[in-house]
Symmetry: D2
Subunit: 466 residues, 4 copies
């Protein structure tokens, strides 16, 4: 029987088996879809805003109480160092609070009438309604906070949600959904399913699903989009190969730590990780050497050790892939300044490459590992053109003391966000966040997602009164 | 050679040949895409807002001068009665003005920082940038105004546009694009191409296209969406089968004319045409008879005759299809109250059907012709459930004097807009407009479209100053 | 010495002395102003948003813990029945939460540039800054919640605040300011002063004050406004004489309880209390009689008794004034349907008057006591004209089942808010709230007040980059 | 008889009499107030939005036709050089267009309900209504554009307006009001009155006036505010003494022309004229000398000469006052770098003062003449403190290439707007514009003013439907 399949969950650092989780199959999926759809189509079962606010308030309290447990759970199965995992859990708690706040902002507006003679005698307003069933397919790199962004938003917006966590990090999601139920989410409003890829596609493309929230690889995301049922809206969050421009006038003692954090945080397994650093030739080599020194000082190891700064890649094959890309880059002309080797099955030494070829994969594709490329540039426009040359456009950065240079880069970098004097991985949970072009579709951020999960209904009242 | 293909344009009323238009092929399409893409990627070629505003101001003036010419041209090839075509042209002129106004509303907002300790020391704002090349595939039923909504919006938003008009009504579009050029649109920013369906699909799915605006059948729209390149955003505007609820307490002398207008305007070839009228049993038959009388009084004929109220269908096969659907409905139990017969090759008599079966096509699918169905209901909830039962959800209406009844219907009808005491086809060009679920994707309306054709770029400035 | 003055606080129900509170004089006032002004002008002392949010979070928790204490304190000195006082305290707690949320909404927006040729080459944004020192002069009728609206808002907006509570209800305010300090409000940011009227005027009109928030009588409010220093902004919240229109088609069993609640809640000592009820002649007498019955059933008495529905007036002279007005109205033609007599020194029997003269004080001025006037009308327009005829315009209401009638009244009643099928005293703390014309200036409501306590600073960056 | 008083209008350049205009007295004023009030209180006389838009469209056309006439008229009576007067007229035309656009933005919003249990079962929206009769008292320095900002806004917002132009420049206003009537403004909606100061005060403080728009001296403005009737809202636009910070890293060849334009435009008779320039000591003297050179090259003379760059002061006494202030400053320690002398009765030579004393009037008060003070600073914080030290806070500027310096000045300058790398007198008619603290009250800018001239009415519909 299909639903006797078991998902083994491993600790990515030592590859030990943490737990075996029974998977759901087509039958449970159908039941989940039916439950969610029935809740949505029966308006009487909808939860009023104050009830959703109350649940989220309780959830916030529960999460605070369980913060340490969640931190360790997420760190254990996801491999993010304890110190960073803790930050994630606290951001997730804050995200729940933001979602509660945003419920009051799901509102409509007046549409003016009478601006033409033909439209006089009317009064018109819009209101926001939940869009329908949300299917969320999540990723491993933020095992709790992504669920908040995909599922708490749905609940807050009034949409029943079905979530399929990453196969590598299901436990944090399952625990969190338990907490949601403990906080009072009524049966059926949030359902977590452990599905294989085939069934995940069935979930994503079912006609009862009104909104697909997908976080993961571009390849899978765009494929799923092409298979959606008519009327299903989607948000896709893929990766990038985040570019940074560094002008000659900066203080390296501030820039280098920022780049090291932005590039090696969570072993680079972040969609807005610093990847391609274009540095003015006057300071490029110096910056690269300092970044290399900083990279070598980072403590790589067991994520549960509170002093660990860089943990493992999520899977052995990822470490292998990254190693291959790095070796290819070196063969194609890059100079290896540090790293370039595996440290065990899944850990990879923080790596800095000097001037890789434009054609190398590390220059063209998302590395999603602890590898930063430094390129020396002579001409700012050429650097910007190189930064923009690939189809992935997510967050970018510029370091400069000069106002015009900063604004010029902000204007000309193809990116959904440009950080000025900060690394590319900066994010707060209420800001708009999402890839452009090949990097994704839709705009994330708690409030943005909640608005995308609703739709405006217009009411036009005609009356001789007006 | 491909590009020697000729498109014959017929007068839909008398099927006379108006003109033969040379079509473009793959080569011209490639050139157009390359031109548009080059303009977009070279930021120096972008037109500043004031230049776009100036062009639109001149365009408005030119359109006013050519209003009569455009009215007749659109009426001749599109078959919309002169009186209604005139309204369309003036709405299109107003639409150009709205687009000019909306340029100043394409703006960003502050994103607050410092709400958490980790986000202090920053100042953040968003700005809006054009999204890229817009491909517009248009429909015949509003040969000018749809072009304004799809193409003038793109130009106003700063996007190069390539438009493929409906094969039946290309002349109005070509003339309008000429006027745009006369008004100062620089070469390449707006290109009209006469393409066959195969090439239109190539246009829609080319990777250089960032935004597809499609108005037409649901079948083609959802197909095209599934074929889009990664990163291409789309707006799809399909049809519906607009439901109306009529309560027992209304004044029939006001309701009937509204229904007649909303149902038979442009021979029902409007995506929000009144199609399914659910009437309280106490007045249902009376309303149906009065609507039938009103339908029979409508003057059907040559659209160029200024007294004509209902013109032809766009193609003979459409008249045949409508006739078949009507006959099927009658066979399946509907009572024919008036109409039900063709008047020549393309004209169809305004038709009222009483209580067609739920299973009949006229109850299930968009008729897109001059046929209105009247259903008697006993229970309001049952009527609403019937109204919502099909997957097309666009505009709806309720007629009632009772406040609670009106609000109840507004709340419970699945529709992007609910008119209270007005027919479903009400629209102004600045209001949000678009189908829900199977009826489309995205939100139209001049300003809404312009915002969808842009994207927000976030700038986060980090500084010790703050 | 001035500052040895003592303020005795009485229980308004039994006139027992609760406490004697030392008053502050000119010296303490000067010191408070200096402290507040110094904090504001030294930008380094400003609290970042996250610090203010944290304080408000702690305050909310403290208030929940002390809810019963605050309820009894407010009820004891203010005379509001326990059941209603409890509601007030919980609204106040919610208000603190709203204020915390609104901090993130104190943000600016982009101002588009380049809409004219002369404005190209610029990028412009606004930001919000606190306006300066806030002086708050408060009223007795909501001893806690008004302080939240006047003082928590100021703190949340980043303004140092000095509050002078009502002389009759200082204890709740003082206790609350203690709680604010316990929650972490740094010294000087919120200061409560017990002042006599002369010193209160000095506070209000000091040039270091940037914002006066006054809740109280129109006479005092408009006087203070005329004395403000140049540059001081103000919000004045005075009273009204709230009108209600009742159409013939309503269900009296729903309308009467709403009117009883809206008219007799807190013995009518609310600025939006139901005062003048204009009823269609077909049901007017019936409604008046039922309202009279309902009034007589209300339990008047000791506010600390949890079953008490109507408590005392705040002062004996108020009971006397109300009695005089009622007697005058009767002499001038009104029929007394119930009440019309004092019940002890400060309690007054809930009173319904039938058809008082337009000239009577009860028809012209704010009663601010448990007296409701019912007028029979023949013509809706005449009733609306009567409702609008006095210069006080605050909240109003209409009861009708008819959509057009409801909209007509909404449109034609001079009021900042019109309730449809609800009484005039409805309020939530996030909605806009404030009198029009003689009834006040500015717009209250937590977020509205916070925005008024800030001002937008525009930054225009000129650069050849754009 | 009072109303036989005559106002003589002089050419300020040669003091020749241009015209004698009959003044209105108390009787005409009373009639005008009565007319305006009656129009406002009779909602049936209100003009629907489309009618106001149509009038403004015609007005724009008429103004384009009369642009040259208006330019010369304004220049002749107001003394602004032809080249700048022309700019003003075209800005005024654009302002009319903006006002027409903003009509569609006078709209309300949904107020969410159900965020607490007590507020469920309701649907709430706001709408905007005109506030009432607008009294506009205007200034001479922009004889046309100020009228647009004060009167066209009122008409566009739906308020009847009574305007009293400056006594020195009444003709442009009267001509413009004629054009408004030609464009279709119905009788009584816009009335221009030539009043003496006593009657102007009566106008401003009449209880039928709901909104006072005053542009002029701080002394008069704050006085009038203190005399307003209860319920009258006001906007006051006074002057400033605009500060500029210039850092050491700038390109003087760009800064100096900007300062010269911002300081000597319209002989400095602009409320945001560059007055106090604080320059980093490394370049201060050099900048001052170059500014002096630029000042000496300006062509001073007859405003009607199209090459004139600086015209006369509005009155001989103003030239005398400026001369006295300059002489005082020199006596108090300032060095005169250029100018410092009268050129005829009303013209004053563009003057640059080096390091005037902090105590001098030119450092403390608004000069409102062609005098720029340059101060050398050593420490940026000291310069900012000096810039902020006076109670007038309007627009300010900073010139720097350094991002942090620019942001630091934007943050710390007390100003409603801070220009980065541009002079203080920059303004576009749609941006927020208004003095802080002693410099004024309210926020100008076409759309901002229109919103201030309206008020939000809230409608809360309670229903068991929700």
């Amino acid at each position: 029987m299909k639903n006797l399949k078991i998902l083994p969950v491993f600790n990515p650092f030592d590859r030990s088996l943490i737990q075996e989780i029974p998977m759901q199959g087509k039958e449970e999926l159908e039941k989940a879809l039916e439950t969610a759809y029935r809740l949505f189509t029966d308006r009487k079962s909808w939860l009023p805003p104050h009830a959703r606010i109350a649940v989220l308030g309780k959830l916030e309290t529960l999460m605070r109480e369980k913060a340490e447990e969640l931190t360790i759970l997420a760190s254990t199965e996801g491999g993010k160092p304890y110190m960073d995992s803790r930050v994630e859990i606290h951001r997730a708690i804050n995200g729940v609070r933001i979602a509660a706040e945003e419920i009051g902002r799901l509102k409509g507006t007046q549409i003016p009438m009478g601006l033409t003679a033909a439209s006089t005698g009317r009064l018109a307003f819009t209101m926001r309604e939940p869009i329908g069933v949300v299917a969320a397919i999540s990723a491993f790199n933020h095992p709790l906070n992504l669920i908040v962004h995909q599922v708490v938003t749905a609940f807050a917006a009034g949409c029943p949600a079905i979530v399929k966590p990453a196969g590598t990090t299901p436990m944090t999601c399952l625990r969190f959904v338990e907490l949601m139920q403990d906080a009072g989410v009524p049966t059926g409003w949030v359902q977590a399913l452990i599905l294989d890829n085939e069934d995940a596609e069935i979930l994503a493309t079912d006609k009862r699903v009104s909104y697909l929230s997908f976080i993961g690889s571009a390849k899978v995301g765009w494929y799923l989009k092409s298979k959606l049922s008519p009327g299903t809206r989607c948000a896709l969050e893929h990766g990038g190969a985040a570019p940074v421009i560094v002008d000659h006038d900066v203080a390296l003692e501030k820039v280098v730590p920022a780049l090291a954090k932005g590039g090696f945080y969570h072993a680079g397994q972040v969609c807005v990780s610093v990847q391609r650093v274009f540095v003015h030739h006057g300071i490029a080599r110096k910056l690269a050497m300092q970044l290399s020194e900083a990279a070598q000082k980072l403590k790589v190891g067991n994520p549960l050790d509170p002093t660990t700064e860089v943990g493992p890649l999520i899977l052995p094959k990822e470490a292998d892939r990254i190693h291959n890309w790095t070796q290819d880059a070196i063969e194609e002309g890059a100079e290896l300044l540090c790293g370039g080797n595996k440290l065990g099955e899944t850990c990879y030494a923080p790596t800095v490459l000097w001037n890789p070829s434009d054609k190398s994969k590390v220059s063209q594709e998302e590395i999603f590992g602890p590898v930063v490329c430094v390129y020396s540039y002579e001409d700012l426009d050429v650097a910007i053109a190189a930064a923009n040359a690939i189809p992935y456009h997510f967050q970018a950065a510029v370091f400069s003391r000069n106002l015009d240079t900063a604004l010029y880069c902000v204007q000309n970098l193809q990116a959904s966000a440009v950080m000025v004097n900060d690394h590319t991985a900066f994010r707060v949970d209420w800001m708009p966040f999402g890839g452009w072009d090949a990097s994704g579709e839709g705009v994330g951020g708690i409030g943005y997602t909640m608005r995308e999960m609703t739709r405006e209904k217009l009411m036009v009242m005609k009356s001789e009164v007006f």
